[in-house]
Symmetry: C2
Amino acid sequence: MKRNTVQRQIILEAIRKLNSHPTVDEVYEEVHKLHPSISKVTVYRDLYQLADNHDIQRVILPGELARYDTRLDHHYHFKCKVCGAIFDINADDVADEAAMDKKVEQKYGFKVDKHDVTFLGICPDCQKKLST
Amino acid sequence: MKRNTVQRQIILEAIRKLNSHPTVDEVYEEVHKLHPSISKVTVYRDLYQLADNHDIQRVILPGELARYDTRLDHHYHFKCKVCGAIFDINADDVADEAAMDKKVEQKYGFKVDKHDVTFLGICPDCQKKLST
DNA sequence: ATTTATGCAAACTATTTGCATTGCC
DNA sequence: GGCAATGCAAATAGTTTGCATAAAT
């Protein structure tokens, strides 16, 4: 049976406060500020368990460290190659997810569970900074 | 200036022979069979340099080890969750790449270089094996 | 002759695991 | 009281780096 520990509550609050795809280290730093006795292993383990429990979502982008997301629905991501920030993209804004999966099934014979999309480019802020 | 070493030729032949998204280790194993004196560091370094030189392509899928591909054009990937194999998907078969990038630029203000797509599911072979 | 490439060992980074102790339920 | 969770240290996995030697140009 899962137990409701102080640490897990603090870690959950921290990621909710950070609120945008933090890495384990970033969550740990945030937690560490106010609760220096909580160890990084616990952050690793609790984030993993919270994701397992669907309180948060584990986000793995190509070539990136593990990140965790308070948003629970399936969506795409954009990574800014300048500042490194990760942004959410609503799949609906960009493509017909179901149609893509169906085409892969029909043309290749694969059974498709899902697909992940990662855009790479420059975010508005960095565009602005670069153009001045 | 780049030098044409025996090792690099052997490594290039090995990945061409393997021919489907091998990991560094898989290339090393292949090389090692016939040329046990070639070290793994050299495989790491040469694969990296060959990719730099556009002789091969580096493929990084979410949560996966680095892989290398003899195919040089941009395309999508499918990963079988049962056997772990990686398959190529032609972007054209599945989506309008340029249109997707354009929508992200228009709706979010990002400047998009490219996007990567990874499908997850079960390949035909594994479907067959599972259904029997 | 010069200077890149190789091979070894060691370093490094992110993450996981073993184990004794702590503390929820 | 029992068993999950914690924290420490150590292990692991993949990859990179420093350095002396070898070999391609």
